[in-house]
Amino acid sequence: MINVNIDGKEIQIVEETTIVRAAESAGIWVPTLCYSELFEPYGVCRICSVEVIRGKRSRIVTACNYPLRDNGTKILTNSPRIQTIRKMIMELLLSRWPNVQIIKDIAEAVGVKEPRIKCLERDEDPNACILCGNCVNICKDVVKANVLSFENRGIKREISLPFDEKSDECIVCGACAHVCPTGHIKIKTLGYERGALQDWYLGPKTAINIPTLQAVPRVPIINEEACIKMQTGGCGICSTYCEPEAINYDAKDEEVEIEVGQILLTTGYQTIDLKQMPQYGYGRLDNVYSSLEFEHMLNSTGPTGGTILCKDGSVPRAVGIIHCIGSRDENFHKYCSRVCCMYALKFAHLVKDRTPAEVYQFYIDMRAFGKGYEEFYKRLLDEGVNMIRGKVAEISEGYLTNGEKPFLMVKCEDTLIGKFREIPVDMVILCPAIEPQFDASNIKKIFSISQSPDKFFLERHPKLDPVSTMTDGVFIAGCAQGPKDIPDSVAQASAAAARILSLISLGEVAVDPIKAEVADEYCSGCRICNSLCPYTAISFEEEKKVSFINDMLCKGCGTCVSACPSSAITGKGFTDKQILAELEGILSV
């Protein structure tokens, strides 16, 4: 600890403290411009110049980076000498950037109104770059990306990116824009295609976030792509602030092997790619949304805070909701997706509730089959939703001659009145078909189960055993098995869970005694049977060079028995000898 005297105030500070900090603790204001706590003081604006007196020697130093080392140092932060220097510096800055707010503020604080100097490089821009270097320093010291730097020298000095081009090294962290005191650096979204939404997100997209408000468990995670520490090795601020030391930058995705007796497959569904149907203009026209995007818009934590808005920010005058996009369609899926009718009605209800817009439902058949569904449909009709029976042929952009904003023209045949109709709306919501996950066939192979012709997983029996599969111990539930709404999914999943629990509580499983077995002495090790087995029960034993059948998996189908070229595989209880003996028995009568 050393004693220093700032403007007559005696204070005690730790050695190596900078004058700015010492002055702060003494309650004395020193003007700063390029100073920031976030990185090492740069010391270039010189506005924080103060007078340091040690013994008889007086010296002008910058308060931001001058470390106090000697006992009894005297500091004058506002001597006449300092005032002249500050005024002159502010005159210089003000003459060059007369409209930058922070410069105007400091100039006023040090008592400069109008600069006496004429500046040839005068820049009237209120957001001009004042070369304070904050962006360069934060990029270098904190982010450690080293993207920004100064170029040229002297009066021509300016901030630039390498070769004046967008840099791949930039991790778009936005730190430079955050520290820019004049707003010269702005974060802009590039590559915004017309009508195409950016990757939709369900919460604030900072490097550390809670993925969704309903996330389980509700803890923050670090987004690897946005985290400065993970991208460049810099920053690391969160770990210094996290008191329980819960931040672990090394945590990585890993593969874990768990041994289980039963498996319940609930791999869910995906919605059809709407771009396959160009006539609906999805991704091409503004204000054509998929139902999930619209659901996101309705969410009170969504991008619009739950207000229904067109892309230009206006409230839609009419909204069209189109059913059966890809479902009940010979070209895509023949089946009905089962959930669209009801959520479309919900949408209509919410649009009616939140906006004065007219709502049009374009349907083929209304399928309100569940408990209370038909009643909801009736209610919607009473609310004045326009129901049009017919498949929409095309959505196109329409323009008015009076220059009003363009609208969307929905063209369809109204089969109830037998007429072709064109209905102008501002927003269209498409109800895409539910379809199996794109990689469902991989799952099928892994678990040796089957798919129905529509590619959903096939249950063992549609009525008698709807949650189990042909493979013992593998169960299915939810949309992996077929399109379903939430109540049905819950019911099916509960049933599957109950089935699994009943097996677990038994503690053992009964298996069919009919199996195939390999006679090691005859097996040539050709492995033909290995790939043929539909239950992946046959594996190859490298040591013995013979095939081996897992009794638990074998269903005794006999495929391998008939395929084995050396007749090494026989079915237990169905050997040739036994069959011949049976035949003999029959024939001997």
């Binding site: 010189r46 002249t84 800055l93």
Partner: protein, 610 residues
């Protein structure tokens, strides 16, 4: 082997090389062969001789006959006369101004006889590309003495005792710097040779490197030994000195080959190596922190030196940086002793290392003197001696006006202070500085405002732009001076200039900004009248600032001497001159572009400039 009887020492410094000294050497060798003298006469290419204004130069040893302004075509005649017939050629010898009898011997020429050589002691005597030449002249004896008979502390004591101060400009006592660096704990320390000589018109360091690179290397090795824990040294040379870089590289390689650099030097356990780094030529890289940033591969920008580089320099290790000339002085001090060194110069440094200026200083003498070139003079010599004795007085008999010392960071010293002894403290007292040793002599035809503008233009252009006072301030000062020379100045501009200057000096980040306003401050101090004439009367007394001149035709001279010849009218690019043939011509001042062509073409002196 029979020794040569005659050595032809031809200067191969940059100035003489650009005046074809290598071609002269070729012709010389051819001619010597022609006369079958190749076993008698040897041609040696030496480093810069110093008398650059008279190049290309050749000195014939052992007689020391000095030849100047040589041309390739003169060589056959010279070889025939001097080498064959034994008659030194008078027409190539030096003739003092306003005299007719030439001075044949080099050491009798005032330019040379007025000098005391320490750092430049080998100039013109050795071939810098041969380490043998250097060793023959006593080179590396100091190193041998240090490594075999002295402890590091003894070396340091000797250097401290000598009172040697940094020759790069600041004049910081070298011994003190070494001692501080030695005291800072650290296993890895560096020594750096600052050869980033950027002052316009200064070439002391370049000449030392080109003429005697080993003296710098020897100095650095001794320094590394004295500071201890130093195994690496850097030489930072600017890219604009290709010959210096070449000779440094050769010298370092030769020193390595001879076991003078590398591991276990002189079979002791002392190890040291030197790397040559090229700078891209930014003036600010002469500033130690900017130089170190540049060596580390960062932009050459200075940082605040509140934590000194001897504490935290290159790669955050304790670093001792000295200028070329400082290093070159070290071997001599070690060899001849501190007492010999303190015998030269001013003041007393036994108790206070800042108490005086010891030894010699190399200046590059330029401007309006008769003998321009490199001079090494003892500290404390008066300006008058340098200008009128060594420099041979002002050219064309013009009146002496001022001396500008210290390059663009220095100041002007007026005629009234011409008897000022030249040392660190005296120069600083009058507002100038020693700097790296630039010395520009000005005569009555130099406009002080224009000169100040010239130097400021240089500094504002070379400012790295990091700190506000230097970046913005110097440019504004330049703008004001530019306006004054254009005749748009106001009287309050002078006060503003002074205010700006003081602010920049006090608050700049590094020494570049801290000294940039010196030319303006000193010229304002000593030549304020000249400024006032510019802003009040819109006149330039030295007739330099064209915008302030008025051209007119003296009717009498035009008619009587020239009979109205009309040459001026024909050559005027602005069509501003009117007049009938054989009649008086006159200039339309509204149209006159003040180019001065008429003044140059008029053979009768009829054009007057005011």
């Amino acid at each position: 082997m029979k020794p040569y009887t005659i050595q032809l020492m031809i200067c191969a410094g940059t100035g003489c090389v650009s005046n074809q000294s290598f071609e002269i050497k070729e012709v010389l060798e051819k001619e010597i062969k022609k006369h079958n003298l190749q076993n008698e006469a040897m041609v040696v290419t030496t480093g810069c001789n110093g008398f650059c204004g008279a190049g290309p130069i050749m000195v014939v040893q052992p007689d020391g006959i000095f030849y100047q302004y040589l041309k390739v075509t003169d060589i056959p005649y010279l070889v025939e006369e001097h080498l064959v017939k034994g008659r030194p050629v008078k027409k190539f010898m030096y003739v003092p101004p306003k005299e007719e009898i030439p001075i044949p011997r080099m050491n009798k020429i005032p330019f040379f006889s007025g000098q005391t050589l320490v750092a430049l002691r080998n100039r013109g005597m050795i071939d810098p590309e041969f380490i043998e030449d250097y060793i023959a002249r006593g080179g590396y004896r100091a190193l041998a003495k240090v490594l075999t008979t002295m402890s590091p502390d003894e070396v340091l004591k000797e250097i401290k005792k000598s009172g040697l101060r940094g020759r790069g400009g600041g004049g910081f006592p070298t011994g003190v710097k070494w001692e501080t660096c030695k005291k800072i704990p650290g296993d890895r320390k560096f020594v750096i040779c600052n050869a980033d000589e950027g002052d316009p018109g200064a070439f002391m360091d370049r000449s030392i490197i080109e003429g005697d690179p080993h003296s710098v290397i020897e100095g650095m090795i001794i320094g590394a030994y004295a500071i201890e824990n130093v195994r690496e040294g850097y030489i930072y040379v600017r890219m604009e000195y290709p010959l210096a870089i070449k000779r440094f590289n050769i010298a370092v390689q030769q020193a390595k080959d001879n076991g003078l650099l590398g591991d276990n030097i002189f079979d002791t356990n002392f190890c040291f190596d030197i790397k040559v780094r090229r700078g891209a030529g930014a003036f600010v890289c002469g500033e130690s922190t900017a130089l170190m940033a540049s060596i580390m591969g960062n932009p050459g920008e200075p940082r605040a030196k509140y934590i000194h580089t001897v504490e935290k320099g290159l790669y955050d290790c304790p670093t001792c940086l000295n200028n070329v000339e400082t290093w070159a002085n070290i071997p001599q001090i070690v060899l001849k002793g501190a007492d010999w060194f303190t015998g030269i110069g001013t003041g007393d440094v036994t108790h206070d290392p800042w108490g005086g200026s010891k030894g010699t200083k190399v200046f590059s003498l330029a401007g309006k003197v008769n003998n321009t070139g490199l001079v090494e003079v003892p500290m404390g010599i008066t300006l008058r001696e340098i200008v009128f004795n060594v420099g041979g007085g002002i050219r064309d008999g013009k009146r002496f006006k001022a001396v500008q010392t210290g390059g663009p960071s220095g100041g002007f010293i007026p005629e009234s202070l011409v008897d000022l002894p030249v040392d660190y403290d005296e120069l600083t007292k009058v507002g100038s500085m020693m700097g790296s040793g630039g010395m520009v002599v000005l005569d009555e035809n130099n406009c002080m405002v224009d000169m100040a503008k010239f130097f400021l233009r240089f500094t504002q252009d070379e400012s790295c732009g990091k700190c506000v006072p230097c970046r913005e301030g110097t440019k504004r000062m330049y703008d004001i001076l530019y306006r004054i020379t254009k005749g748009e100045g106001k009287e309050e501009d002078l006060d503003l200039l002074e205010e700006l200057s003081n602010m920049i000096v006090e608050s700049s980040l590094c020494a570049l900004g801290g000294s940039a306003p010196n030319p303006v401050l000193t010229s304002l101090k000593y030549f304020r009248e000249e400024y006032l004439t510019h802003v009040r009367d819109k006149k330039c007394p030295a007739k330099v600032c064209r915008e302030l001149l008025t051209f007119s035709i003296d009717p009498e001279k035009c008619l009587e001497n020239g009979h109205g010849c009309g040459v001026c009218e024909k050559n005027c690019p602005d069509g501003a001159i009117y007049g009938e043939k054989k009649n008086v011509h006159f200039i339309d001042s509204m149209k006159c572009g003040k180019c001065g062509v008429c003044f140059d073409v008029c053979k009768f002196g009829a054009i007057t400039v005011e």
